[in-house]
Symmetry: C2
Subunit: 423 residues, 2 copies
């Protein structure tokens, strides 16, 4: 942690998501960096819905953190869960005991699913925020089809009824990919099942999908989803979630064994123990330079931070995490040089959401809108470029090409976090 001349400042980064990696990559070797994450891998979250719908393998969207910093001597990695922060003595507690001292601390621990206190949702709804979520959802979907094959009564009970709560990008992407998986692949895997009994629906509180998009793009997404067999309920609020149904606040009961929770996130629960001032959804309030008020040397970025530009809170998206990460790295260097810090300015480079095969919507700066095939290719290309790791890029490209040309999907394994020992 020190050179022969003078100790290099130690920057601890909590979280190896888009934000944490951006900080570590932008910091020079005049500091020592330790990234702490409970997983030993970075997850490319924008493609989790493809893992959940068997289009990609779990390993395609994950990359070992250590592998990203081969030969980068000033960046280290610590695999463990952060259990506390002491801003007085400037220490991070990992796994309840190991202490990491810091000169600067960047909190980039991301978000967690927000069930908004809906009864039964934590137990029965399936979120889609991390890799284990995605694999569990895939296993659950495939398991519902296996159950339907065995027991016709289960079909009556709603085992082939799939509900996505939330019509934002995650909800739209998941519902579109699920409809495609069923239509292109599961129909062949389960030729005895009556596909008429399968339903995929989105339940959206507002009167339109994809809140951040323009009205014509929203309509395009709606039309495409409906043409592919997705039902959309607008202005509907979920009152409770059970294993085999949901209930709306109108009292309407919908039979469904699969409730995907794409309704929103809140700050990582870690934040509750830190004592920092919290904004909407529990996010850490930050100053304009992204430092945390009252905690010397502490910064917060990405999904865990409540970042306001022009009186608007920035959305919890990968580009915000990456830009805030780079900004904080620059500010840390400014502090080291004794220069004043600068406020963060977000550059909006546009938003995209994919709906399925050759269908997507993209809204770029200068009012440029893309729909359908051009938007879909733009989406594919952009995600390949930003995907971490050349091997992953190659593998995802191969998988996408395979899926596209063969109308097939990846190995539809029921295997993962909940797999029991065999013998």
């Amino acid at each position: 942690m020190s050179t022969v001349d003078q100790p290099r400042p130690h920057v601890v980064v909590i979280g190896a998501g888009f934000g944490g990696l951006a900080v570590a990559r932008a910091l020079g070797d005049d500091v020592t960096v330790t990234i702490v994450d409970r997983n030993n891998f970075h997850t490319f979250q924008p493609l989790l819905y493809q893992v959940a719908t068997a289009g990609l393998n779990a390993a395609d969207v994950a990359h070992a953190v250590r592998g990203l910093f081969h030969g980068v001597d000033h960046v280290r990695f610590r695999n463990g869960r952060v259990s506390g922060i002491d801003t007085e003595t400037r220490h991070v507690v990992v796994e309840g005991q190991q202490l990491l001292g810091y000169d600067h601390l960047v909190v980039a621990a991301g978000a967690a699913t927000n069930f908004f206190g809906i009864e039964g949702a934590p137990d029965h709804a399936l979120p889609l925020y991390n890799l284990a979520d995605a694999v569990r959802l895939r296993n659950h979907i495939l398991g519902c089809f296996e159950a339907a094959q065995v027991d016709p009564a289960a079909v009556e009970d709603g085992v082939l009824s799939f509900t996505v709560i939330g019509g934002g990008p995650t909800g739209v992407e998941t519902a579109g990919a699920l409809a495609e998986l069923i239509d292109a692949v599961l129909s062949k895997d389960f030729p005895d099942l009556d596909l008429e009994r399968v339903s995929v629906r989105i339940i959206e509180r507002e009167q339109q999908l994809l809140a951040p998009f323009s009205s014509p793009s929203q309509q395009h997404a709606h039309d495409t989803l409906v043409s592919r067999g997705v039902d959309i309920l607008y202005g509907a609020n979920v009152r409770s979630v059970a294993a085999d149904h949901i209930e709306l606040d109108t009292g309407e009961r919908i039979s469904t064994h699969t409730t995907v929770w794409a309704a929103g996130v809140k700050a990582n629960p870690l934040v509750e123990s830190l004592g920092f001032e919290q904004g909407p959804s529990g996010r850490i309030i930050v100053d304009s330079d992204l430092s945390v008020p009252g905690a010397d040397g502490v910064w917060a970025i990405g999904d865990i931070a409540h970042i306001v530009n022009d009186d608007h809170a920035l959305p919890q998206l990968a580009p915000v995490a990456m830009q805030t990460g780079a900004h904080v790295a620059a500010q840390i260097h400014r502090v080291q040089r004794g220069e004043p810090t600068e406020p963060f300015r977000y550059t909006d480079k546009g938003t995209m959401a994919t709906i399925g095969r050759r269908a997507a919507v993209a809204e770029l700066p200068f009012g440029i809108r893309l729909w359908g095939t051009p938007a879909w290719f733009a989406w594919l290309g952009l995600h390949l470029v930003f995907l971490v790791g050349r091997r992953n890029r190659l593998s995802v490209l191969l998988n996408w090409a395979w899926n596209y040309f063969t109308w097939d999907r990846g190995p539809r394994l029921i295997f993962g976090p909940d797999t029991e020992p065999e013998n």
Copy 2:
């Protein structure tokens, strides 16, 4: 299950391994086939050691069973665990309740790890027979390196000492691949660790490795492993296995946090409840035509069967499973036609084991022996040909090429069956 003319005989196949798939593929559409497996996927077991050592992803060596029979209307799949067989009423019990009637039953349920009653082995040794085993072993190996990074005392305690029990093909392949993983990749992932503290050893009861091979091939395997840093203890018997050490029957105690169990298998425990006569390692005794004596219409193939040719029991290998599967399919058709059954004859096409990069041994018919690079390329090619599924072949080829040219390994994720929920 029936045509308008007359009911087609129903063949139930327990197990979707090499044997079960061979039966199902060889049976014509004059019968109906139901394959039952507790996993919804076939596992290519010969490459499990590469999953365990992060050379391949879990999904590369698995293929959804349903995907193998698209358009093959007379073959169905049932995902579930067989809990019993009633040979009187000719029914198979699945998951304790669903009953499947059969005209012919092919027991191809494979094997389970045989711990030979060694104290502590079931709790602390890590087997390598199924996909969950392989992922758990990978997670454990990577976890040991993470633990060593955090706590130097753990290194003193043996956290970087890796022991493989058994010097057969699985043991040799695992030890060789592990030595390579450490040397080529983990040394870069963990630059702060002293690689001198890492040890990989094989403990073999006999005086040579690779029992079925010729003495010169055994010597070649020994020399190659030793040159790559693997220690080999011959004539050593393990008395007990604990979390942090093993004890030999000489009383010698070896500190090790990782004990890979490659010492042998026994018949799937399912066999204990069936009431069939059992041979060595609990395997089902079969007649020369592979029918089970005293159980009309029941056949046993592959690892679960004790198959004798020329007074020798055949080894528990993929080629035996595939050949016995094809044989039983032919016998079922003969029985249908009222013809007498024929005895099974095994055609030995040779044996191979890989030791690492450009190192393998192969013994083919007519006394042909291959070592080193030619054997390694023969091994790669043969495994690619036999790997199930074109997509898997493409992915494995890509992974191998990547590993070969970059000296890298796949995503070294600590993720899988034991992953806990994140929030």
